[in-house]
């Protein structure tokens, strides 16, 4: 069985981003980039499945600029087998990403595709679901537990109010929630080994997918700033201010 894992290169989760003064976007010059945390969890889950003997090969794919190759190398160093890099400098919306991934799935014929539930930059939470729809596959989104169950996957999902368990027939899509697993660190020997693992260089044209954005960005603005608050000295003062000044008690 083959597992396909799409990964995204994003601003590191610890970075406090700045909006450009001309409101054209977020300033990404000289900002630390990393693999999207949810994608790391997806890679880790695929590797664990391989370690359990459930999968033979893990193929990692990333769509993005030259730097995305580093993200693929990171996944290879964690334990994935080979990579596909679809190079583009354009901003690619989830719909176009899903269309490219659907084409790749057609060529690679994986039985499971594991994605992160959302990228921490666009916060869209859509690609996995869109890919599942385009392929006509069932989905187990926001997964906190995945078990192989014959020709199906048993997926425990994080939902509002608790947990839901569903059964989805293979081939299937899984998107990862934070609690699915704790990703491993790549060791130095594995990082060295990853340099020799193959990465196929592709372009969006190879898949015939139109990348034109459906959502035109009019502007990117800073959210309203909260006014600086006050420190209170005692609990009594706090309660009195909440009652008399803020009027929320």
């Amino acid at each position: 069985m083959k597992i396909l894992v799409p990964v995204k290169r994003v601003v590191d989760y610890n970075v406090k981003v700045r909006v450009k003064p001309d409101q054209s976007g977020v300033d990404l010059a000289n900002v630390k980039m990393s693999m999207n945390p949810f994608c790391e969890i997806a890679v880790e889950e695929a590797i664990r499945m391989k370690e359990k003997g459930l999968a033979e090969e893990i193929v990692v794919v990333s769509i993005g600029p030259a730097g995305a190759q580093e993200t693929i190398r990171t996944a290879l160093a964690m334990g994935a087998d080979r990579g596909i890099h679809v190079t583009t400098d354009a901003t690619v919306e989830p719909l176009a990403v899903a269309k490219i991934l659907a084409k790749i799935a057609g060529e690679e014929k994986p039985e499971i595709i594991i994605l992160g539930k959302q990228a921490i930059d666009d916060d869209a939470n859509a690609t996995g679901q869109m890919l599942a729809a385009l392929l006509g596959w069932p989905q187990g989104t926001f997964a906190s537990k995945v078990e192989k169950d014959g020709d199906a996957l048993k997926v425990t999902r994080e939902i509002d109010g608790g947990l839901q368990t569903v059964s989805i027939a293979l081939p299937a899509i899984v998107t990862t929630d934070l609690r699915l697993n704790e990703p491993r660190y790549a060791s130095l020997p594995n990082i060295m080994k990853a340099k020799r693992k193959p990465i196929d260089a592709k372009t969006p044209d190879d898949y015939g997918v139109d990348l034109t954005a459906r959502l035109e960005v009019i502007k990117v603005a800073e959210p309203p700033k909260r006014k600086g608050g006050v420190k209170v000295e005692s609990v009594a003062e706090l309660v009195s201010k909440l009652k008399n000044e803020a009027g929320v008690l």
């Binding site: 610890n14 406090k16 981003v17 909006v19 977020v26 919306e93 719909l95 899903a98 539930k117 921490i120 930059d121 666009d122 916060d123 869209a124 939470n125 859509a126 690609t127 679901q129 869109m130 729809a133 385009l134 069932p138 989905q139 989104t141 926001f142 906190s144 994080e158 939902i159 509002d160 109010g161 608790g162 839901q164 368990t165 569903v166 059964s167 989805i168 027939a169 299937a172 609690r179 459906r214 959502l215 960005v217 009019i218 502007k219 990117v220 603005a221 800073e222 959210p223 909260r226 006014k227 608050g229 420190k231 209170v232 005692s234 609990v235 706090l238 309660v239 803020a246 929320v248 008690l249």
Partner: protein, 313 residues
């Protein structure tokens, strides 16, 4: 022109988040129709028919819809989608699950988690954990939108729409529901509570959350948590407030033993009044708190409860 709102509910009553989506739909304009997909959900449809501004309610019932399976919701929504200029659902885990599937099938880009409607085709949504707000204009023929419930008023009652039954397409054989494990609580729902009191890593363990629960019960508040507290196993994960958990915007948010990481702030910084109780005066939470108290929470929280009694709670 007409707009379709897909109701959020538990098969018994309408979730408040649906009323927020109706308000967003009003701003887009046109006739508003509500689709109630569920099982034994007639009471939800009746409730939806009374929502102010709603022209028509459609009720579709099947077992798969009762469990809100994304595959079943996808086929149902596609079967009724013709003729709508916009389709909206609350940005709940249900909406986030099926709406992108519908969007992909209609070949349109989903506009996730909008916080404002500028016009019928232009919307505002947060990106980068709420550190930037992007205004986007959709060039798609149909607008597929999930709505952040906390930023829209809840539409009240006053409507008297008709309820029509529509057929649910056959459920996909590729997915099936096994079980559900819901947290039971008498406290208000986290997303809808007027007051939220949340604990973080500083709580030390799960038992210590009892001191927050006492305050919550006094105030009629909901209890939340940071990711650190959830990961440490203090409380179940549906308590989590933040970029990857729930987004709340109550009148009063009390953060106890929470440092205030970017990801947590993403879920609560639109609260009207924020209170932080933390012994580390350098904690980032103090930069967004209206009222900060530098103190040991194990002394401050019980004292807070006593003070509440003094003012009549």
């Amino acid at each position: 022109m007409a707009t379709l709102v897909i109701a959020e509910h538990d098969n018994k009553s309408l979730n408040e988040a649906t009323r927020a989506a109706v308000t967003a739909a009003k701003k887009i304009g046109g006739d508003i129709h509500i689709l109630v997909a569920g099982q034994d959900a007639k009471s939800v449809a009746d409730e939806a028919a009374k929502v102010d501004g709603v022209a028509k309610v459609m009720l579709a019932e099947s077992e798969a819809l009762g469990h809100k399976m994304a595959e079943a919701l996808e086929s149902l929504v596609l079967s009724v989608a013709d003729g709508y200029d916009a389709i909206l659902a609350p940005a709940s885990t249900v909406g986030k699950n099926f709406m992108p599937r519908v969007a992909a099938k209609l070949d349109v880009m989903l506009i996730s988690d909008i916080t404002a409607v500028e016009s019928a085709d232009t919307f505002i949504r947060p990106i980068y954990a709420g550190n930037a707000l992007v205004t986007v204009k959709s060039n798609d023929k149909v607008k597929l939108i999930t709505v952040r419930p906390t930023t829209f008023e809840k539409a009240g009652d006053g409507g008297s729409a008709s309820v029509d039954t529509v057929d649910a397409p056959d459920a996909s054989a590729k997915s099936s529901f096994i079980s559900e494990e819901l947290s039971k609580s008498d406290r208000p729902e986290l997303g809808a509570a007027k007051i939220v009191i949340s604990g973080g890593r500083g709580m030390g363990n799960g038992e210590n959350f009892a001191i927050l629960e006492k305050v919550a019960d006094k105030l009629g508040a909901a209890v939340g948590a940071s990711r650190a507290a959830v990961d440490a196993g203090f409380v179940p994960n549906d308590y989590q407030v933040g970029q990857t958990g729930k987004v709340v915007a109550p009148q009063l948010y009390i953060a106890v033993g929470i440092s205030g990481a970017i990801q947590h702030l993403a879920g609560m910084k639109d609260s009207k009044v924020i209170v932080a109780i933390n012994k580390d005066e350098e904690a980032p939470i103090f930069s967004v708190a209206d009222y900060g108290l530098v103190a040991d929470l194990f002394k401050a929280v019980p004292e807070f409860e006593e003070e509440l009694s003094k003012i009549g709670y």
